[in-house]
């Protein structure tokens, strides 16, 4: 399978990428690791006429602490998140989640920013960053702006990023090395989660993110409220599927996904 024809340009810096986005308009797409975009282009579900390759913008590959949060460059690869010492101390949950994205080959190429900008509700990192109350920094022609994760994922593969904006950085509040649980249920090695759950103890209480339980990554708000009110794991987990509208596919019906959400949230909470 070969993608439809496109023009390829390479950006050498964040500013250069933003300038090229402005020049090429809505028909351009940014290419980071390509682990989501290239499969879509091969299936011709995406047919951008210009690809702006930001994969070599090394200035956007870093992980460092900055006050009460960890700042992660958007082009940091999953492999580098998975093995990073700063995250081991300050945000262990992110390492654990990154370590289960795809397979080794995918993690060698795929980037955290690419995954976020793609906004797939079946991906692990968007739901994890939503649960962790991350903030995303975007750069457009007029400068940079911050977008809360809670306001970022707008619909299926749709995010708050404007067509002329580049995701620069992910800021994650420090949550320590432990105090999290990640439950990813799938039927084949390397598959996306049929349903996944990220639970983490944060400064704002226990947060729960749901993977593949709707058209966007979700927070299990009912579960979080119940826990804040003193409910036990089993009682809180019973609320995990409330208000969710997951899709049905070959792997799972709506009812099965909702069942999985309740079971996986209970397991995650019991493991916390």
């Amino acid at each position: 399978m070969i993608p439809a024809a496109f023009d390829y340009v390479r950006a050498e810096s964040a500013e250069g990428a933003v300038a090229q986005l402005a020049e090429h308009g809505d028909d351009a797409k940014l290419l980071a690791g390509g682990m989501s975009l290239l499969p879509l282009m091969k299936l011709r579900l995406a047919t951008p006429t210009v690809l702006i390759d930001v994969g070599r913008v090394r200035e956007l590959s870093y992980i460092r602490t900055d006050g009460d949060h960890v700042a992660i460059g958007a082009l940091t690869r999953h492999r580098d998140v998975e093995t990073n010492d700063v995250l081991a101390r300050e945000c262990g949950v992110l390492r654990a989640v990154a370590a289960q994205v795809g397979d080794n080959q995918v993690r060698h190429r795929g980037t955290i920013g690419g995954s976020i900008a793609h906004g797939d509700p079946a991906s692990d990192l968007p739901a994890a960053l939503l649960a962790l109350d991350a903030t995303f920094v975007a750069q457009g022609p007029g400068g940079t702006r911050e977008i809360a994760a809670s306001a970022f994922f707008e619909g299926f593969l749709e995010t708050a990023l404007a067509p002329d904006e580049l995701l620069l950085e992910i800021r994650v509040p420090k949550s320590g090395p432990n105090g999290f649980a990640f439950e990813k249920f799938n039927r084949r090695a390397q598959d996306f989660a049929t349903v996944g759950v990220v639970a983490a103890k944060t400064a704002g209480g226990t947060h729960v993110g749901l993977i593949n339980m709707g058209s966007t990554p979700l927070r299990a708000a009912g579960v979080e409220r119940a826990l804040a009110d003193g409910a036990g794991a089993a009682d809180a987990a019973a609320l995990a599927a409330d208000g969710t509208e997951p899709s049905a596919d070959l792997n799972a019906s709506v009812e099965y996904r909702q069942h999985l959400a309740r079971v996986l949230v209970r397991r995650a909470l019991e493991a916390l």
Binding site: A5, L31, G34, L38, P39, D53, N104, V106, H108, Q190
Partner: protein, 142 residues
């Protein structure tokens, strides 16, 4: 070269290096695995243009003259293949894995080759081969 040329097609059709296989063509099976600057990558899901300037290692580049790479030798000795279609990708994935984890457990190996499908062997002898190669490479390094 057209921008849409995938690395695997560039390797096979332009360079004539047909050891790297196209399997599923959807970045699932790993038959197209090559090393890009020493790390395993699925070459069906990378543009050749993205690899510009990088060092690409395919199965053809592993042996040292007539001496097979320890991973190749171990696959030979431990019968880590049957039909052979997944083998080039499996070997490249194993080489990359052993670079990252020189002393892997059996579980490390099974998880580490998660991105490579084999429909013949049931994986048992592949895992044996990778573990044997790891042992051999550690011995050589001493």
């Amino acid at each position: 070269m057209e921008p849409r040329t995938l690395l695997v097609h560039y390797l096979r059709e332009t360079c004539g290096l047909t050891g790297t296989k196209v399997g599923c063509d959807t970045s699932s099976c790993g038959a197209c695995t090559v090393l890009v600057d020493g790390e395993s990558v699925k070459s069906c899901t990378m543009l050749a243009a993205q690899a510009d300037g990088a060092t690409i290692t395919t199965i053809e580049g592993l042996a040292d003259g007539d001496t097979m790479h320890p991973v190749q030798q171990a696959f030979h000795e431990h019968h880590g293949l049957q039909c052979g279609y997944c083998t080039a990708g499996m070997v490249m994935a194993a080489v990359s894995l052993l670079e990252e984890i020189p002393d892997p457990s059996e579980r490390d190996v099974r998880v580490g080759i998660e991105g490579n499908l084999c429909r013949c062997t049931g994986y048992h002898n592949i895992v044996e081969s990778v573990l044997a190669a790891a042992e051999q490479m550690r011995t050589q390094a001493r």
